[in-house]
């Protein structure tokens, strides 16, 4: 899966994902790839997040539950949660780690990762169950740089 976030020259943000899903899935299965807030999320005022991994698990953390914490605690949507955490003032690294750790607490065997980027261009990644790499290109770079995140 690729999840991409772009901040354009105007400072506007967009995200996108594309995947052919899990190998040997049961026909008809859809993962989190096309689910906004799970595989990716963007808010121009805050930043963006992209996710990769076990989409069957990642898409179980629903945003409408997050809005009703007193009724359904401990549920959220990974990418949405990262952006919302940044909205509340968290740095991207902490926001990414927090989102991943929330899933891992419920699913210790979970394999997945997220990257977070805020409106100021600060980015970070977090992962669980595998070593994750993400790529960055900004004006001060000569070419794309790859960053490695350990679980």
């Amino acid at each position: 899966t690729i999840a991409v976030a772009v901040v354009d020259k105007m400072g506007h943000i967009a995200v996108g994902t594309s995947t052919n899903g899990a190998m040997f899935k049961i026909p008809g299965r859809v993962g989190d790839g096309p689910i906004a807030g799970s595989s990716a999320y963007a808010d121009d005022e805050i930043g963006a997040c992209g996710a990769t991994g076990d989409g069957d698990i990642m898409m179980r953390f629903l945003p409408w539950h997050a809005r009703l914490p007193a009724i359904l605690p401990c549920t959220f949507m990974a990418s949405y949660q990262v952006v919302e955490s940044m909205r509340l003032g968290m740095e991207p690294q902490l926001a990414a780690k927090d989102a991943i750790s929330r899933i891992a607490r419920k699913f210790p065997d979970f394999v997945g990762a997220v990257f977070a980027v805020n409106k100021n261009g600060v980015h970070a990644g977090a992962c669980h169950g595998w070593t994750f790499q993400y790529s960055v290109r900004s004006p001060e770079m000569d070419d794309v740089e790859v960053l490695t995140v350990l679980p």
Binding site: T1, A5, V6, K9, N20, G21, F24, G50
Partner: protein
């Protein structure tokens, strides 16, 4: 207010607005910025080129994801990868505009290889968010994308054949019979009742199964 005070206010406002403009210009030096999962270098370069030429964030995202679909990044993006149990490749894709919060997405799209472009068409030309399956394919083709096309490749069919030879293991089924061979599958609950299988054992099976299924070349 005296004319002199008005002049001072005017100078102050002009200076202030000028400073705000300078601040924005400084900020824009850190843009454009592209961040992507995995070392999909050519995809990031494609997104960067688009953004650097002044295209919108949405356009740059589409360029980046399209490059990955064409390159079949890691076999996890685009056509010719991740065959399902029937050997078929389907595409999921999404695009989200962080300015308008508009979203377009396609899921389990068959016969059309341009996932992200189909997602953008959903965002641009419908009031919906997500189209799925063959209806998504029909929409994408009707909006001008090429298809219908067989999304399988020699590689994906080889992986699928090997998986069939390995008795369809591993797979995403649980609590079904048969356990160690290909289907058709049937629920195992009725058998459990008669055989008195312990609940804990079933729970173990559920938690143990996932880590073997998802990996670096098999993920969403």
């Amino acid at each position: 207010m005296a004319p002199k005070n008005l002049l001072s206010l005017y100078i102050f406002l002009v200076t202030f607005l000028h400073l705000v403009g300078v601040h924005e210009a400084v900020d824009s030096d850190q843009y454009p910025l592209v961040v992507s999962t995995w070392p999909f270098l050519d995809a990031v370069r494609a997104a960067w080129r688009a953004a650097d030429r002044g295209f919108s964030a949405v356009d740059a995202v589409v360029e980046g994801c399209s490059a990955c679909e064409e390159l079949r990044c890691d076999g996890t993006v685009g056509p010719g990868g991740s065959p399902d149990e029937n050997g078929e490749t389907t595409i999921d894709a999404l695009v989200m505009d962080g300015v308008t919060m508009e979203v377009g997405a396609v899921a389990a799209m068959r016969y059309v290889k341009d996932g992200i472009r189909a997602a953008r068409l959903v965002m641009q030309h419908t009031k919906h968010t997500l189209l799925v399956g063959e209806q998504a394919s029909a929409f994408a083709i009707s909006m001008g994308l090429p298809g219908p096309t067989n999304l399988s490749s020699a590689e994906s069919m080889a992986k699928w054949s090997k998986w069939k030879e390995d008795s369809c293991q591993p797979n995403f089924w649980k609590k079904v019979v048969p356990v160690n061979s290909c289907g058709p599958f049937h629920p195992r609950e009725s058998l459990d009742l008669t055989e008195g299988t312990c609940f804990k054992a079933k729970q173990m099976e559920t938690t143990e199964s996932r880590s073997s299924l998802i990996g670096l070349h098999n993920h969403d």
